[in-house]
Amino acid sequence: MKRERLIQIVLVIVGLLNVVQIYFLYTDLWHSSWLLEQKNETHPMFLSFFIPVGVFLLIAARKPSEYRSAIALAAWWHISHGAVMAIQTVEAWIHGVHRNFGDVILFLAIGVVLLALLPGKREVVAPAVA
């Protein structure tokens, strides 16, 4: 019971963190700053992925055991994101460019915590045979 409550809290926090990205998406799209200032068309598309994940994690927080696969997807999603950033950080260092690794730790930690708290498979109650 405690574990379920714990994963609910984690899901709400991670869900809200992802939903908050809508603000950054808004600032990116506002006055076409992605086009005129940043000249980076990947950034808004990248941010658009966070918002559905956030909403779905908030939905999963209601009954985590019913949405096991969605939580596992979010966990692997964060781990793959963190792993790619870790490779990027190493490559940047090799080429003498500084890249902060705080985001690597954050995403890997979120992924590992979600996997560690992943609810167990529900046992199917077999109907009684007369």
């Binding site: 779905f56 696969s69 793959s80 990027q88 077999a126």
Partner: protein, 159 residues
């Protein structure tokens, strides 16, 4: 049964499509191309869809067990397509043209709508004996809306 098979085929196609982005990710990280292209977001962007592709392929065996995951695949594709639509409109307003527009918008829009249209119905709990008047349990509003849309689509097809 036909609908479930159609969903499985779509899941395989979409899953493989997104998994292919893993190759693009490898290509981007190989020889640090992202660093010379000054786009550190691109590899992260590709990694998200690669993970989604693998998960959609996992859902192929028992789509009804992975409803929220499929819904996520649908809505993330729609969100992606919607963002690209705004970007294309902004580019046109500034006298420019986005390289892959409008094909990319159509592709992601079609993926999202197809996954929602074939969305699997909620499985009845094995512990509860479903009677003729048994009503399905109410789920979260987003899933209910997706479920209603899928049911209406199935009814129209059967008419």
């Amino acid at each position: 049964m036909k609908r479930e098979r159609a969903l499985q085929v779509v899941l395989v196609l979409v899953g493989l499509f997104y998994c292919f982005w893993g190759y693009l990710l490898f290509d981007d990280l190989w020889h640090s191309r992202w660093l010379s292209g000054h786009s550190d977001v691109m590899p992260m962007f590709l990694s998200l869809n690669t993970a989604l592709g693998v998960c959609l392929l996992v859902a192929v065996n028992q789509p009804a067990k992975h409803r929220l995951m499929i819904a996520y695949g649908a809505w993330s594709s729609l969100a992606h397509g919607f963002t690209m639509t705004i970007m294309s409109a902004q580019a046109v307003a500034h006298g420019m043209h986005r390289k892959d527009s409008p094909q990319d918008i159509v592709i992601f829009g079609v993926i999202g709508v197809t996954l929602l249209a074939l969305f699997p119905a909620k499985q009845a709990s094995p512990a509860v004996r479903p009677g003729p008047s048994a009503k399905p349990k109410l789920g979260p509003p987003l899933l209910r809306a997706a479920g209603a849309l899928a049911t209406r689509f199935a009814q129209r097809r059967s008419m």
